[in-house]
């Protein structure tokens, strides 16, 4: 009797994640949907102008979607080679003692708060990029991509490493027995065998980078226009929400539009996470 009661109590605690997730979904719909009475879904998603405080206002989030996409793809250009390379090195080449040091180091990289990365980007990397490429401003899509890439690196590296470590030893031994060298074994046997895990790592890295807020808010420069070059300031969906929610009067069109952006963002990250989940489980 008592055990049964306990069991139900525990079950309700376990279900809380679902409850919160449902709460988030309902909240986003409830506060986000009203904007679609003002603008059509199509105009919201593909409108080229985001002027929420003009009269009449423009609620087109295409520049923000493209801003997020550019910065995130740029981040993957940094995070994927470095992350997968690091994973290969840590699991295949590093001495066990070195591995014991490198793995916590990668974890530390993941634990640095995003606002600290953003700060570092503003005071160090931004000015460096500006001087190096002789630009009018240092806070650009390019700068944000580098920082964001370093932030996504641990995600990519740790999941790719799990996948690589899970490749059975017999496969490697068979490859050596056929006369293959270590490098050939890594590239032609281990990596193909771990490929679905590595792809999942890349997708999760994308999900992590596209949802990142403070770094892009501080480093990407913040211009809500469709980007034409990577050396231009851009503005992402996340940064827009963070920067404007404080000023948007509760219940206004602007407020609902920001929730509308969050809705789009939520479904993008949800889609990528479920996809990665599916790939990992096979």
């Amino acid at each position: 009797m008592r055990d049964n009661l306990v069991k139900h109590l525990l079950l309700s605690c376990a279900s809380l994640s679902i409850v919160f997730l449902a709460g988030i979904t309902v909240t986003l719909f409830k506060e986000g949907l009203p904007i679609f009475k003002e603008v059509s879904v199509f105009k919201f998603l593909f409108g080229r102008y985001w002027y929420p405080t003009y009269d009449p206002p423009d609620f087109g989030i295409l520049p923000l979607i493209l801003g997020s996409l550019w910065v995130t793809l740029g981040a993957l250009f940094v995070a994927v080679p470095l992350g997968v390379g690091s994973a290969m090195y840590i699991s295949e080449l590093a001495h066990p003692k070195l591995r014991e040091i490198l793995k916590p180091t990668v974890e530390l990289l993941a634990s640095v708060p995003s606002v600290v990365y953003g700060f570092f980007g503003m005071v160090f990397l931004g000015p460096l990029v500006q001087r190096l490429f002789d630009l009018p401003v240092g806070l650009t899509c390019f700068t944000a991509s580098i920082i964001l890439g370093m932030m996504a690196l641990p995600t990519v590296a740790s999941i790719a490493e799990d996948a690589i470590s899970a490749v059975p030893r017999e496969l490697r031994e068979a490859s050596y027995a056929l006369g293959a060298m270590k490098w050939e074994t890594i590239t032609k046997v281990v990596v193909p065998a771990a490929s679905s895990g590595i792809i999942a790592a890349v997708i999760l890295g994308f999900g992590r980078a596209v949802g990142e807020t403070m770094t892009v808010l501080m480093v990407a420069g913040g211009a809500a226009v469709i980007p034409r070059s990577v050396f231009q300031p851009v503005r992402t969906m996340t940064a827009t929400i963070a920067a404007e929610m404080g000023e948007a009067p509760m219940g206004s069109d602007h407020y609902h539009a920001l929730f509308g952006i969050a809705l789009v963002l939520f479904f993008i990250t949800l889609g990528f996470n479920l996809l990665a989940d599916k790939i990992i489980k096979g």
């Binding site: 055990d3 069991k7 079950l11 376990a14 080449l93 708060p113 600290v116 996340t238 929730f259 996470n273």
Partner: protein, 282 residues
């Protein structure tokens, strides 16, 4: 030729690790060198003065302390109980699969979306206002997956024989969980709680509209007061105000304090995990 290829390949892999480590290193060095210049007992223990251009960051330290402790206080019991259900009570059924997908999805939700959720639900719907309470609850939801995962991992590490011995002595399931499994899993659970503190302390976007304020004259007197917080303080110093030549050094100091805090917390977690692994007699 094959040897040369292998040599080049290894160098590339090594480089990718070096780049990551170097980035982390330079971030720490830049912030440590510049931050150390303003760090002093007064900086840690005084209130800000002259519109944030002088004085210390004491209220922000207190605020971050309260917020992350509140978050863990909320998420730890719920997360631990939930994890016990998933590991000890649930079979492999459909419900568990759904709960697990929920936990995974929750951990992939962008932090700014948590902020909106907190704003709509805790600040508005529950009427807690912009306050320590709203911020703690929002951060608590965010770190729930961290706690659940750490606890699950810890419980998983407890050998089956422990439970069987307990049953053999006539203990019920709940007695076994309470008296045998949880004590054995305690170091792992503690690690999870500590990681949760670190994560909550560094997050900015979730407290942006739920708890944080740029400046208060007083420490919070009740859970319904708004607070200053270290990560938000960095952001505000870099983006608001008109005297960057005075604000940036303070931001460096604040970033150093936050970085030290988060790294120390993570380091403690790593040490606890390592010690528990070595002290384990099974």
């Amino acid at each position: 030729m094959r040897r040369f290829k292998q040599f080049v390949g290894f160098v590339v892999l090594k480089t990718s690790v070096v780049v990551g480590v170097l980035f982390l290193f330079s971030l720490i060095v830049v912030i440590a060198l510049n931050g150390a210049r303003v760090l002093s007992p007064g900086f840690l223990l005084e209130f800000p003065r002259e519109g944030m251009t002088e004085g210390g960051i004491f209220p922000a330290i207190v605020g971050t302390f309260l917020l992350s402790l509140g978050a863990v206080g909320f998420a730890l019991p719920l997360g631990v109980l939930g994890a016990i259900y998933l590991r000890e009570y649930a079979g492999g059924g459909r419900l568990v699969r759904i709960i697990r997908t929920g936990i995974n999805t929750l951990s992939g939700v962008p932090s700014v979306v948590f902020g909106l959720f907190g704003l709509a639900v805790f600040v508005k719907l529950f009427g807690f206002g912009v306050s320590v309470l709203s911020g703690s609850l929002t951060l608590g939801v965010l770190i729930l997956p961290v706690i659940i995962r750490a606890t699950e991992e810890a419980i998983e590490g407890v050998p089956r024989e422990f439970r069987e011995a307990s049953y053999a002595l006539g203990a019920t399931k709940w007695q076994t969980v309470k008296g045998v499994v949880l004590p054995a899993a305690l170091p792992g659970i503690l690690t999870g709680a500590i990681l949760g503190v670190g994560r909550a302390a560094g997050e900015t976007a979730p407290i942006l509209f739920t708890a944080a304020t740029f400046y208060t004259r007083h420490l919070p007197g009740s859970p319904f007061d708004e607070v200053m917080a270290l990560p938000y303080h960095i952001y505000a110093l870099m983006t608001e105000g008109t005297e960057p030549e005075h604000q940036v050094p303070i931001a460096y100091g604040t970033a150093l304090v936050l970085l030290l805090l988060v790294l120390a917390v993570n380091f403690i977690a790593i040490v606890i995990r390592y010690r528990a692994r070595r002290a384990r007699k099974w």
